[in-house]
């Protein structure tokens, strides 16, 4: 299982949402909706700020992002949750900068003031 997490760990630099393909699709009339680069692997309620792809693909490879979106945890508690996933659930150790990026994102959007929709 470790292999998988390492694979996911190399998700950076983030895959760019190809503007070209959007333009092509729009040109072909395939997009009735506004062009929002809406990546619904994540769902609309996964805020598009720095790190969203890295965190989203990483967490979403093992469990639903729905469980992430329900939480309202402080940064230290997210940090503990990573420890729990690493120590108890077989997740690979995170690189320090990777961990910072993920914690920043989670604490930015899913902190104690966050309530499930």
């Amino acid at each position: 299982m470790r292999f998988r997490f390492e694979v996911l760990g190399v998700l950076r630099p983030p895959l760019r949402r190809p503007l070209l393909s959007l333009l092509v699709a729009a040109g072909l009339g395939l997009l009735a909706q506004p062009v929002l680069a809406d990546d619904d692997f994540f769902g609309e309620d996964w805020p598009r700020t720095e790190g969203y792809e890295e965190v989203g693909y990483f967490c979403g490879s093992c469990h639903s992002l729905a469980i992430v979106k329900q939480q309202g945890l402080s940064r230290p508690h997210w940090d503990e949750l990573f420890d729990w996933m690493i120590e108890d659930q077989g997740m690979a150790e995170l690189e320090p900068d990777q961990r910072e990026l993920y914690l920043d994102y989670l604490a930015r959007h899913f902190n104690e003031d966050h309530r499930p929709q």
Binding site: M1, F3, R4, V7, L8, L11, L15, R17, P18, S21, L22, Q33, A37, D38, D39, D40, F41, F42, G43, E44, W46, Y57, G60, S61, C62, H63, S64, L65, A66, I67, Q70, Q71, G72, L73, S74, H77, L81, W84, D88, Q89, G90, M91, E112, H114, R115, P116
Partner: protein
């Protein structure tokens, strides 16, 4: 929202470079024939994502997006379940809105689902076996037919509730599935008594705890990891109302509720009632399987202020669930027609190892209370239905509150006794009712 819009993002990822997308998302590497060659981690990951193994994975073209893979719960359906609110789809966790729990015996399609891992693929009752071992005189492995033949088969209405039911009301929030009120139900379970089986294998005097094992697999797909393995002290295990169950409401157990064989250990957190049961081990120590230790299914020994960080050693294992109730009629948020002066109010109450002795309701924010008509349970550990007509003397907004009292005199509190993991919220349930002007 259209499905195509929901899937566009991952579609784009795949459109750009399907093989690279496979590699990034699933660790999947295409073989020479451009078929997705899922092996090791990639196969397990994709299987875990789908909640099932992919029997024809070698035929699955590289870059093909599994149709079931979309990060949306809106269209997620669970066969054989009806009206449940899905909190999580990997693993599946779903609860029942309170007004759909009005039946005295919860229909199979209305019982909540709390999965910790991925259900087994094979749930064939004909080949299923249960092993009882550990600190016993005569370890045994029994088929379901053996259980039916060797032991008395009994049926009881038994309440099952997730230890975290009501967690969504915690502040600060507690981590985990944000259950509202509906991770509870009272099905008719048919099986053999756990105590009869334990007596048949001969529990050694050294045995103090049970350890339960199921056939579900860890979310990571790692066969060496168990998603959950909990147990109970031997005294609880010997209760005549614990069942090794093979029928739910007279029919097969729902696959997500543990088919074809599960424990039902009523009155304690649902996690004691191992689903897809394969083994019960008797131990001479407190069981230390996954979700027995740390802060799982534990609360602080002493009450703490909301938000307190509690050291691991200050937690204790939850035993009996506390006194609770649910209002199933009327549905909260309902508007009754102008001229309505009375509402029929109905619900259930239960109290872990205890009985319910009375249930009172208020329609004026707790100022006055009316005792309800409380039914006798069909057997111990069944929830008890109560009902009463409540006056609604004039138009306006009402809240109907219920407050159960158990046989030990414990009452439901108004406020949550906060604990870090969000267990045991037994506050009084409230429904909102408006009478039109």
């Amino acid at each position: 929202m259209s499905k195509s819009k929901k899937e566009r993002g991952i579609c784009e990822l795949y459109a750009e470079d399907p093989e690279r997308a496979d590699y990034l998302v699933f660790g999947r590497v295409a073989d020479k024939g451009r078929r997705g060659f899922l092996k090791g981690a990639g196969l397990v990951t994709m299987g875990a994502a789908l909640g099932a193994a992919i029997p024809f994975h070698r035929n699955m073209p590289a870059g093909l997006i599994p149709a079931a893979y979309a990060e949306s719960l809106a269209d997620f359906k669970i066969a054989g379940k009806n009206g449940l609110t899905v909190l999580n789809d990997r693993p599946i966790n779903a609860e029942t809105p309170a007004h759909l729990l009005n039946d005295d015996i919860t229909p199979t399609d209305r019982l909540f689902i709390r999965n910790n891992g991925l259900p087994p693929e094979n749930m064939d009752p004909a080949t299923w076996t249960l092993t009882i071992d550990g600190d016993v005189e005569r370890p045994m492995t029994l088929s379901i037919d053996d259980l039916k033949r060797e032991f008395e088969v009994v049926s009881y209405a038994l309440q099952l509730e997730c230890g975290g039911n009501g967690r969504s009301a915690f502040n600060p929030p507690a981590r985990g599935n944000q259950w509202s009120l509906g991770a509870v139900g009272n099905c008719m379970w048919t099986g053999v008594r756990l105590v009869d089986v334990l007596n048949a294998v001969g529990v050694k005097p050294t045995a103090i705890y049970t350890a339960h094992y199921g056939a579900d697999t860890h979310l990571s797909g790692d066969p060496d990891k168990l998603p959950i393995s909990r147990g109970v002290p031997i005294e609880k295990a010997m209760s005549p109302y614990n069942l090794i169950a093979f029928e739910q409401n007279g029919g097969p157990i729902h696959p997500m509720n543990g088919a074809p064989l599960r424990l039902v250990v009523p009155g304690w957190p649902g996690s004691c009632s191992q689903k897809w049961l394969t083994r019960i081990q008797l131990r001479d120590v407190e069981h230390d399987g996954p979700k027995m230790t740390g802060s799982s299914y534990r609360v602080p020994k002493n009450n703490v202020a909301p938000g307190t960080d509690v050291p691991k050693e200050d937690f204790e294992i939850i035993h009996s669930m506390p006194v609770k109730s649910l209002i199933t009629l009327p549905e909260t948020g309902i508007t009754l027609p102008a001229g309505t002066t009375v509402a029929a109010v109905r619900g259930h109450a239960w109290a872990g190892d205890n009985f319910i002795s009375r249930v009172d309701v208020s329609h004026d924010f707790g100022t006055t209370w009316t005792e309800t008509n409380l039914m006798v349970p069909p057997n111990p550990y069944s929830w008890q239905t109560w009902e009463v007509d409540v006056p609604l003397p004039e138009p306006g907004y009402y809240e109907i509150w219920a407050r159960a009292t158990d046989s030990e005199g414990n009452q439901q509190p108004f406020a949550i006794n906060w604990n870090p993991k969000g267990y045991l919220n037994n506050t009084m349930p409230r429904v909102a009712v408006t009478v039109g002007a």
